[in-house]
């Protein structure tokens, strides 16, 4: 198993043992819905509430040999370094464009990442919106979205996608990509 996947396995175990709702987002979720492209960035979104939840998350991470490098409840993300493997993972407390509510969590899907390793993956619709809502959105993000739209086709819940895209203010961009 690769170092990155090994780290991911330990993080998922940590979240599940501590009943922290999570989901894989970004480049590691893409191959489930769209094109296949290489990336080293591992993004996870976690749902925690309040300072107590935040402190509990940090303590759990440190206990499992993950060192948070940037950590403030005011920051949308925490970057953690796996002291055992030397890899980095981005843990998002407020992922771009994603309204981390019950519906988002309900729409996650469980996917196999490897032998004896399954994880919650962001829904295809929330994946699209989070890609488009990135403040530093680039051509690659738009290509990722296009690939998901093409591969998922009629499988997408258009009503939900429209609702979330509107909430995130990216409806027009979505329309333009769909039309291209």
């Amino acid at each position: 198993m690769s170092a990155i996947l090994g780290s991911l396995r330990r993080l998922i175990k940590l979240f599940e043992e501590n009943s922290i709702p999570y989901m894989v987002t970004g480049g590691y979720a893409l191959p489930f819905y769209g094109r296949v492209r290489a990336t080293v960035d591992v993004d996870l979104a976690v749902s925690i509430t309040g300072d107590k939840g935040f402190d509990h998350l940090l303590a759990s991470l440190r206990e499992a040999s993950f060192e948070p490098t940037i950590c403030s409840p005011r920051n949308p993300l925490i970057i953690v370094v796996d002291r055992k493997k030397g890899t980095e993972t981005e843990i998002w407390l407020r992922p771009d464009g994603i309204f981390f509510d019950d519906e988002t969590l309900r729409r996650r899907r469980k996917a196999e990442l490897g032998r004896d390793l399954s994880a919650w993956i962001v829904s295809a619709e929330d994946f699209i919106v989070s890609k488009l809502a990135r403040p530093d959105r680039g051509a690659v993000d738009e290509q990722d979205v296009k690939s998901v739209l093409v591969r998922q086709g009629a499988e997408l819940d258009t009503e939900y996608l429209q609702k979330r895209a509107k909430q995130a203010g990216v409806l027009a961009v979505l329309q333009a990509i769909q039309a291209s």
């Binding site: 690769s2 893409l30 191959p31 094109r35 996608l161 429209q162």
Partner: protein, 153 residues
């Protein structure tokens, strides 16, 4: 506000259904009808499309309340002429379509076309029983090896 919500909904549903061509055509009809008083025959001449296509689109657009057929006051004997008039919703759609057309994307058209092709390849891989996530891990490993070997030289 509700009207705009409907408009956005209409645009999204049209796009997501892959109805791009039809949307473009509807926008062209709205543009032509807004520019001058037009009957069906006038539109067919202006747009240079098949009459059956124009009639079918007009029927659809009327159902969607994008246009209204208004009857002209007859000045001479015979069947009174009907004119196509865009509704307020139709005009808003036209405006939104115009804005959308000029919306700047970071990706070029060919980048998005390439992404669509890659997506279809991923579909074929999955259809042939491959796990696209495993292929992704393999690709990552290849890229990593190339980086390591290029750094070693």
């Amino acid at each position: 506000m509700l009207k705009y919500q409907f408009l956005h909904f209409f645009l999204v549903i049209s796009f997501l259904k892959g109805n791009k061509m039809s949307l473009e055509q509807k926008a062209q009809i709205l543009q032509a009808a807004a520019a001058t008083t037009s009957g069906v025959r006038d539109l067919v001449e202006t747009l240079n499309w098949k009459t059956s296509n124009v009639v079918s689109l007009l029927r659809e657009m009327s159902n969607e309340r994008l246009i209204e057929m208004q009857q002209a006051t007859p000045s001479k004997p015979g069947r009174p002429k009907k004119y196509i008039v865009p509704t307020l919703l139709g005009l808003e759609l036209l405006e939104a379509y115009g804005k959308m057309k000029i919306l700047p994307l970071r990706a070029r058209k060919e980048d998005l076309e390439r992404a669509a092709k890659d997506a279809l390849y991923a579909c074929r891989l999955a259809a042939n029983g491959h796990s696209t996530f495993q292929i992704f891990l393999e690709l990552n490993a290849i890229v990593r090896n190339i980086r390591v070997s290029s750094q070693a030289h």
